[in-house]
């Protein structure tokens, strides 16, 4: 009954990795669903809004003709109120400007708080609307060009940060947790008594992670494109290289966590211990520029910061790999140091 048409061990190990991952609904949610929800939630909350027109009140004493001119302009948000109500609205900054006319034949009076930027705007617009109604002509021809600088919105900032966080999370779960669980279940020992090559075992993680890396990138970038019209400004290849190096650094940390532990609770604790500071400090959601100056270098040495900065530079600023040498070096050191220590510390039981 001996046969030699054996299945390929590396292929089978990679398939097992991929299947284990895809068949665990929790993994799939945290790796694919969660970042998308974050992108939707934060992307909507912080989307750039078209500014509201200035709000003004026209008192009952103002001539109807003047009031009509103001009310009909789309550039203003106009209400008519009694003199007293208008005073109150202004005091409570519910409106930016009050237009009054104490004497029916006298001049108009603008009441405003000049310390308020919006009040100044309201005054300029109200003035312009009235003058135009009275027949003002532009003496200089001016053309307007409306521009939105690519990659400058919050959601553009957020998406590369989510990619970075995703790389970290999926390496931690896909490698660190996976190894600890296999050790706890004595599955690693079971492998250790077979002629399975150790290199195949290690490579199976490399290949399955690479596959998921491409998938994760495709999902987040595709989602950003479809829903937020956010585009990768730099080259996709450079982004892939930076993301790959980031994933390697996190894979190394995952291996480090999975090298010896045999309790999944301890693994969960360590993973949070490692990830929490980076969630807070590494600028996935908000820039770390606001932290004190002396903290910046330590923050930039964290792998997630390096990954986020590298991804943002390529994604938003059309940067090339040559413009992020510091980030690439940080990620390489984490990768190398992590793997060297993990391989030495690794226990099959």
């Amino acid at each position: 009954m001996s046969r030699t048409d054996a299945p390929n061990p590396l292929e089978e190990l990679v398939k097992a990795r991929v299947r284990e991952f895809l068949r665990e609904p929790g993994y799939v949610f945290w790796v694919f669903g969660f970042p998308l929800l974050m992108a939707i939630g934060l992307g909507l909350a912080f989307r750039s809004k078209v500014p509201e027109p200035p709000r003004i009140v026209v008192t009952a004493r103002v001539a109807d003709e003047t009031a009509r001119a103001l009310t009909s302009s789309p550039r203003l948000n106009v209400e008519r109120q009694s003199r007293n109500d208008a005073e109150r609205s202004l005091a409570r900054t519910k409106v930016d400007l009050v237009v009054d006319q104490p004497d029916p034949h006298g001049p108009l009076v603008f009441e405003l708080d000049t310390a308020q930027e919006k009040a100044l705007l309201a005054r300029a617009v109200t003035d312009d609307v009235l003058e135009r109604a009275a027949g003002r002509r532009d003496s200089i021809a001016i053309d307007e060009q409306h521009v939105v600088k690519a990659g400058s919105r919050y959601v553009d900032f957020l998406l590369p940060g989510l990619i970075g966080m995703n790389l970290m999370g999926s390496s931690m779960w896909g490698i660190g947790y996976n190894l600890v669980q296999a050790r706890k279940r004595k599955l690693l020992r079971r492998y250790a008594v077979t002629p399975m090559r150790r290199s195949h075992f290690l490579l199976s993680y490399f290949f399955s992670r690479s596959l998921f890396l491409v998938l994760e990138l495709a999902v987040l970038i595709g989602f950003g494109r479809l829903v937020f019209h956010s585009h990768v400004q730099g080259s996709i290849l450079a982004l892939l290289v930076a993301a790959g190096l980031g994933a390697s650094a996190f894979a190394a940390i995952g291996f480090l966590i999975g090298a010896r532990l045999s309790s999944t609770e301890a693994a969960g604790g360590w993973m949070n211990f490692v990830q929490l500071p980076m969630w807070l400090l590494s600028g996935s959601f908000f820039s770390y520029e606001r932290f004190p100056h002396w903290l910046k270098l330590p923050i930039r040495l964290l792998p997630l910061t390096a990954a986020n900065d590298a991804l943002r530079c390529i994604y938003n600023e059309a940067g090339a790999l040559s413009s992020i040498p510091f980030e690439l070096a940080v990620l390489s050191v984490w990768t190398l140091a992590g793997f060297v220590i993990a391989v030495r510390a690794f226990r099959w039981q």
Partner: protein, 318 residues
């Protein structure tokens, strides 16, 4: 003559202060089914793991087929053995077929996955996730992974613990058919019955040492020509009078009743019954049986084997 399947000498393993294995000598011939028996903590698993090359002994040597475990020849030996570890939990969400295929891929040669499933009666479960299987099915899959490389030597560590009698019988069948192809088996168990059914020879282990070695028959016969009488009673028994009978070797309390070790003859039995009648003691649930391996263990160590005690409830375990 070919080298024995297993040969080890003065095997020692220490865990901190505790001497887990204290100098074991063992030879298992090719084609033999050898049983390591003993209570939990006797050192069986540590011994087996040293034989499997999984644990490095502190001192002593292990040879399989005349080859020592060493870095250069590790894979060569691993190709020739199949291992079922004690309570290994395979990947939850891989199907039976996928698990077997994965393990099959590690070996240069062996049966096809279809053949493995047919042999272990797992064809109906081939698309089932491992986590959905019953205890008996899981153990059959584990055995399948051990057989995936068509091994010459099979290690089974407590393969039937927690299985119901039918699942246990099925597994015994598989082991026997493996052995009938001239292959060797080393099995650990704390079920004496299992050892008696399967094994050509048995070593009884206790506290890291082998305290008896031989065929199941010879070990039982070593106790002498004895039988056991057990009964319960609600009346007070004059134990001294009973043990004074020449036929009675020992008398011991067992739960609500007594356990007597007596000479293996009909007249001894009637002498005991006569004494009970004289004392007007009515025995309830009187039974007699020949010596078993459990009695051998009790005789050697003065303790009852844990496995034997929990045997009745084993089927209910998860």
């Amino acid at each position: 003559m070919s080298a024995p399947a297993i040969h080890c000498q003065s095997l020692v393993k220490r865990y901190g202060e505790k001497l887990a294995v204290a100098g074991i000598e063992l030879t298992v011939d090719v084609g033999e089914c050898f049983g390591l028996l003993g209570p939990n903590g006797a050192g069986k698993t540590t011994t087996v793991e040293m034989l499997e090359g999984l644990t490095e002994p502190d001192s002593g040597s292990v040879e399989l087929f005349g080859v020592r475990w060493s870095n250069g020849r590790k894979r060569e030996l691993q190709e020739r053995i199949g291992v079922q570890l004690q309570d290994t939990h395979l990947a939850d969400r891989l199907t039976v077929e996928e698990v077997l295929r994965l393990f099959r891929s590690f070996y240069r040669q062996g049966p096809s996955v279809a053949e493995l499933m047919r042999e272990l009666d797992l064809e109906a479960e081939r698309k089932q996730y491992y986590q959905k299987l019953s205890g008996g099915q899981k153990q059959r899959v584990a055995l399948g992974t051990a057989l995936a490389g068509d091994p010459e030597l099979l290690f089974l560590d407590e393969p039937t613990t927690g299985l119901d009698p039918r699942a246990r019988q099925a597994l015994w069948g598989s082991v026997r058919s493996f052995q009938q192809r001239g292959r060797s088996v080393l099995i650990t168990t704390h079920y004496m019955e299992e050892a008696a059914v399967l094994c050509d020879r048995i070593a009884i282990m206790d506290q890291g040492q082998i305290i008896a070695l031989g065929t199941p028959r010879s070990l039982v016969d070593g106790l002498g020509l004895v039988q056991f009488v057990e009964f319960e009673t609600k009346q007070a028994l004059d134990e001294a009078a009973v043990s004074a009978l020449s036929a009675v070797e020992t008398i011991a309390r067992k739960g609500e009743g007594y356990r007597l070790r007596i000479d293996r003859s009909l007249s001894s039995l009637s002498a005991v019954l006569g004494e009970l009648e004289r004392q007007r003691v009515t025995p309830i649930g009187l039974s007699t049986h020949q010596a078993t391996l459990d009695d051998v263990f009790l005789h050697l160590t003065g303790r009852v084997l844990k496995g034997a005690e929990s045997e009745a409830s084993a089927g209910a375990a998860p």
